[in-house]
Symmetry: C2
Subunit: 305 residues, 2 copies
């Protein structure tokens, strides 16, 4: 965190896929020196030529050695691996962060950094598309995105603020500090469980026992199926990695869902359709309230409230 | 089915909500005399003034007495009620159909018509929006919609063709004859079960145990939740009626879903993430194939293949 007043903050971006390259683009013209690293040489060259980064280094060590703040925009297993493998590459007093979708395992992997005087602040910008790779990157990806920050124990406020300033400069919306376990439980419910349900729907509806039924199902599915199952088209590898690193919380979220689903099923089996209609009305009220909440939130952002 | 060559076919439309009023609008200028009936006098008057129907009658009996073909565009419980209550109102040789989302119960209720020489052909145009009422009607509702036809046993081909001609004139796309039980099992899988899942997701995610968690969940839900839960905002009463009239098939579809969902859960609990990723990849492949199938189908419709 040295030299913040004299020269631009050096931000290392490790991994130049959708998240990393979009971050580099979003920081164009902002008071940051963007130091990139990507595994492939062609990507590093592209990033320099196309002003995604100010400079790219061949090895992570070279990038980390000059960084005031590092953002690891890598798949979760690589984030965990890098925190171990490159622990000695970061300068004492520098700040390390990431953009992974789960936080507890990553914070555990970052624990050894503290002893070396390196500050870890887990990060999770709620942004992404169903695509991946540098070719999918665009500078507006983080605009108005909620960003969660999970600082490791004992990290000073200025280190958290440095990471926050990166996301603010990149266009991020509301920044929230949250405990890592609480974060993982939250995203298990609001996001991870949905991918399991969407996949189970795709499998149970489209994979019928015989060809005639399969064709009928393909014909019979319409807009309801299209929307309910949309995220089943996401990357199986990426979602395997996310869910693999958030097992207890995902299983809890799945249990909560099963509980509600079983209750509806029992009401159907018992023929108690008055209670069934009441539950459906409660589900509708909750979702309609959420739509209204998001609409209000967008309005507030536009008017600066 | 008399007088088809001399004068336009008289089609009675019983119920002028979204489905009935849209049907009247879609048949404008087509070789049908549109005879409307609605419970409310204001709706009957509106239908006449706005050319939704050529004439409206005060009672169902009056409309049915002059109809060559009747389409019951009413909620399922009323369709069943009308088939019993007005069985003697239809002329022998005339054809009765409906637009309800389930077919087995309706065909059972229509059984007594056969003894009176009235032909019943169950119908289900796959069209609708999340809205309802005459004020939501529009003439393009049925354009390219798949229409299922479930004739009662012994109904002559000309009776089926008469109903088909109504939907064809209204803009309907592919017409398929299907057994009622098979139809109900199909829509339980491709549509009804999705409403239960969407409602269970809305309930399990947004209805948290305390206020702080609820607020976090409202904030944390994004586009994944928006799409997966969209149909949870549909009419609780309408979906209660549909599911109440399709219990065994809906319970079967729910069992199929639970089976796939439980398998994914067990793989997570067992930590077998290679198999989990393979299942996710299979779900993605199925959904991507479905998207491609629908795209191809739309292309074929445009080019007239």
């Amino acid at each position: 965190m040295a030299n913040q007043e004299e020269k631009p903050v050096a931000v290392a971006i490790a991994g130049l896929g959708l998240l990393g390259a979009s971050l580099g683009m979003a920081l164009r013209g902002k008071p940051f020196r963007r130091i990139g690293w990507a595994r492939r040489e062609t990507v590093r060259r592209w990033a320099e030529i196309c002003d995604v980064c100010d400079v790219c280094f061949e090895t992570p060590e070279e990038a980390f050695a000059v960084a005031d703040v590092t953002i690891l925009t890598l798949p979760i297993p690589q984030i965990i691996q890098f925190l171990g493998r490159y622990a000695t590459a970061w300068r004492p007093g520098s700040v390390v962060s990431d953009a992974g979708s789960v936080k507890s395992g990553i914070l555990s992997a970052a624990a050894p950094l503290a002893a070396r005087g390196v500050y870890f602040v887990g990060g999770h910008p709620m942004a992404g598309t169903e695509k991946s790779g540098p070719e999918s990157a665009f500078p507006e990806l983080y605009e108005n995105a909620d960003v969660f920050l999970c600082p490791a124990r004992g990290v000073p406020a200025e280190a958290v603020e440095l990471v926050a300033s990166v996301w603010r400069a990149a266009g991020g919306g509301r920044l929230s500090r949250i405990d890592a376990l609480r974060h993982d439980d939250l995203v298990a419910h609001t996001s991870h469980v949905l991918h399991i349900i969407a996949s189970a729907l795709s499998l149970s509806i489209l994979d019928a026992s015989d060809e005639e039924t399969t064709l009928e199902r393909f014909r019979g599915c319409a807009t309801g199926f299209r929307d309910t199952s949309r995220i089943a088209s996401s990357s199986p590898l990426m979602w395997r990695q996310i869910i693999e690193n958030n097992r207890p919380a995902v299983l809890r979220a799945l249990r909560d869902f099963e509980c509600c689903c079983n209750r509806l099923r029992d009401l159907i089996a018992d023929g108690d359709f008055d209670a069934f209609e009441r539950e459906f009305a409660r589900g509708k009220l909750l979702r309609d309230s959420w739509i209204e909440y998001k609409r209000q939130e967008e309005n507030d952002e536009r008017t600066g409230d």
